[in-house]
Subunit: 231 residues, 2 copies
DNA sequence: GTAATATCCGAACGAACGTTCGAACTGGTA
DNA sequence: TACCAGTTCGAACGTTCGTTCGGATATTAC
């Protein structure tokens, strides 16, 4: 990892990529913290939990971060940064919107599967950050979402269908499908990541592009609408 | 609300449905707590927050629940119970698996939209319960998931397609699409619940039943697989 | 009325929390 | 050797947490 990835304090004056001991230990702390945050959530994890798991004293942790919230931020921001960086590389020189969408889905899911803890923390603890830190991650997320939406729009425009799926619904349905996997998917299990990505891709893309609505679905509309209330 | 919905302490000896003051106030506390839990998460909500929002003294809250955790449980269990109850009613005498699926989706989404706070707490704070309380809700959830999976299997069997979507992926993709809506959907906004449900239904069902895979998607498989690692 | 019960709350408890402080180490440099 | 910056940590600080206790007030039953 390059020394500038985490805004390192190593302060090397020579312009080469260096991995200082400080960087390595910070990364180790972040990875451990991410694992525990994923296991028992950010707010019910204490700095003492992280201290115990890393064998770094409670006070010692504050040599590597200025607060517990900054730990969460570093996990989220670093994780998201890597997703985006990789995505931009892979989308270079790609024009076909459907291929773009495939790359987007595969990129998201394979990174998710390989970094389950960090990605769970990124998607599940979205609102645990406050102030500037929240804004920073949130802005990135909005940008990411808009990119997905734009790709979907291109797909939709590339082949006119009647009665198209609402773009907002489609965008968030896609993210829902993908981000929900931390609730069930086991990267070590039978189902390989490539199979997962392939299935999600087919499921979503065929649904999104289909222009035909089953008669059965229409029949549903005649049902009396359910009215829920709090009493 | 019937006096037995919350295992009421009202202890009426007459066999009629009664709404005691106790029940009403408990329900008010639960609804308020659900709202705050949804806003700032269970673990960062204090009993003092709930006390302030309900105008019930801190100690007074413990007349209606025996712990903060029980508050969370009551919210989740009551909410889930109502979803299940309504679903079972609507599925009675329905045979067509596609209609079943439509009812399932519409039931879930319309209830979600009408009870956003409770449903967010139900799906977002799944792991905040411990021990028996966790097991109880979790068992119900498993049952609910299996029902969805079974309906999907029936749909799949009713019309043989080659290369069908993996059932596990499909099931959790569906729940991901539906449960993710607390991250973006505004029931008061432009998009009506019926439109939301209709779009989700079409998106999912067409994708799930489609038997054709685009050549574009196949092309993706020749990409060099991405390898993510922690370094 | 009065007794019994249900409802409510101010005040406090012990525990756990995030963070800080000053001192003790460590390794490299002169 | 002495020195300095980087690293480490035991101990403690002030705060907030969930919960409890004893008693006050309201409601019901007789």
């Amino acid at each position: 990892m390059s020394s500038n990835t985490f805004d390192s304090k190593s302060g090397s004056k020579i312009r080469v990529i260096r991995v200082t001991k400080y960087d390595q230990k910070l990364e180790f702390i972040l990875r451990t913290a991410a694992r525990i945050f994923a296991e028992k959530s950010y707010h019910s994890t204490s700095m003492r939990d992280i201290s115990r798991a890393t064998n770094v004293s409670l006070a010692g942790l504050y040599h590597y971060c200025k607060s517990k919230e900054e730990l969460l931020f570093l996990i989220q921001d670093n994780c998201f940064g890597r997703v985006l960086e990789r995505l931009e590389q892979r989308l270079e020189n790609v024009d076909d919107p459907i291929v773009k969408l495939g790359i987007f889905i595969e990129n998201h899911l394979s990174f998710f599967a390989a970094n389950m803890s960090e990605m769970k923390v990124l998607s599940h603890e979205a609102e645990s950050l406050r102030g500037d830190l929240y804004t920073h991650v949130s802005t990135r997320k909005t940008k990411y979402t808009k990119l997905a939406r734009q790709i979907l729009q291109e797909v939709q425009q590339s082949q006119q269908t009647k009665d198209p799926i609402d773009l907002t619904v489609a965008t968030y349905a896609l993210f829902g499908m993908m981000n929900w996997i931390y609730n069930w998917y086991d990267p070590q299990g039978k189902l390989k990541v490539s199979e997962l990505a392939g299935n999600v891709m087919r499921l979503f893309l065929n649904g999104f592009r289909a222009n035909e609505v089953s008669g059965h679905v229409h029949a549903l509309r005649s049902e009396t609408p359910s009215v829920w209330s709090h009493g």
